[in-house]
């Protein structure tokens, strides 16, 4: 049996333990990575859509 000893200190969410993965055909991605990538796309879209404060024009 394969056991890895982990020195995990207190944290609000414990991300240690078996990872969760999404599968589409040959594509396999961790939920964590998918969250990061999707967040990047959302933030990018928001960044170009949200209005920026108008400064004092000269």
């Amino acid at each position: 049996m394969i056991r890895i000893a982990s020195t995990a200190p207190a944290s609000v969410f414990d991300l240690n333990g078996p990872g969760h993965y999404l599968h589409w055909g040959f594509v396999q991605i961790s939920v964590a990575n998918a969250v990061v990538i999707l967040s990047m796309i959302v933030v990018f879209v928001l960044a170009i859509l949200l209005p920026f404060p108008q400064g004092r024009r000269q």
Binding site: S11, F44, A47, I48
Partner: protein, 230 residues
Amino acid sequence: MSARVPAQPLPAEHHLPASGSWTGWLRRRTEAALPPEKLMPERQPAYVSSWIYVFGVLTLAAFVVVLLSGAWLALAGPTWWHTSSVGHFVNSLHLWSVELFFFFMVIHLWGKFFLAAWRGRRALTWVLGAVAFLCSIATAFTGYLVQSNFDSQWIASEAKDGINSPGAGAFWNVLDMGQMLLWHVTLLPFGLGVLVVLHLLLVRMRGVVPPIGVDAEGFADAGQREGGAR
């Protein structure tokens, strides 16, 4: 007892250029390329008004936090974080600031790509940024190698095949923790820092790229609608 000396103009010889002076030459060239008002301007062109523009400075800020948290880890050595809860927390700061660094940097890259920000003699700015991106990947990679845990063992074991195959592994041994630690803590961050400084100086020297189809006075370019990027 303090005496306030009123400011007086200096004698003329204090301003004379010395002939053949390397110092004077270097100072005059840098002043010409980047006078102080251009290095630290208080205004930007009116078109710099989108949230996409903050991702460069967010990347820079994240880089600073990466360096500070890394320096904190370096204070107590590479294995401190395994046995100290403070150390483990500092390691967490280092990991998450790196994740944020890449998060902001890639969004910055996407933005600059879609703005075709290399136009108007700004190709070198793009080149330096792209090289900095690749250098960041190398720096992060060596960071994973020096965690001194299972992750390091596995990553080193796998990566050695990729790096040995083009012959680089004969000189850059990912299984040698001492070598990788020195690259991670000194050589790569220093190189990356130089790239970042050059990148920033170029942005200040060239200015933020103007909108596609707009000339330097701010008019829509009537002669041709959208150029410089075809």
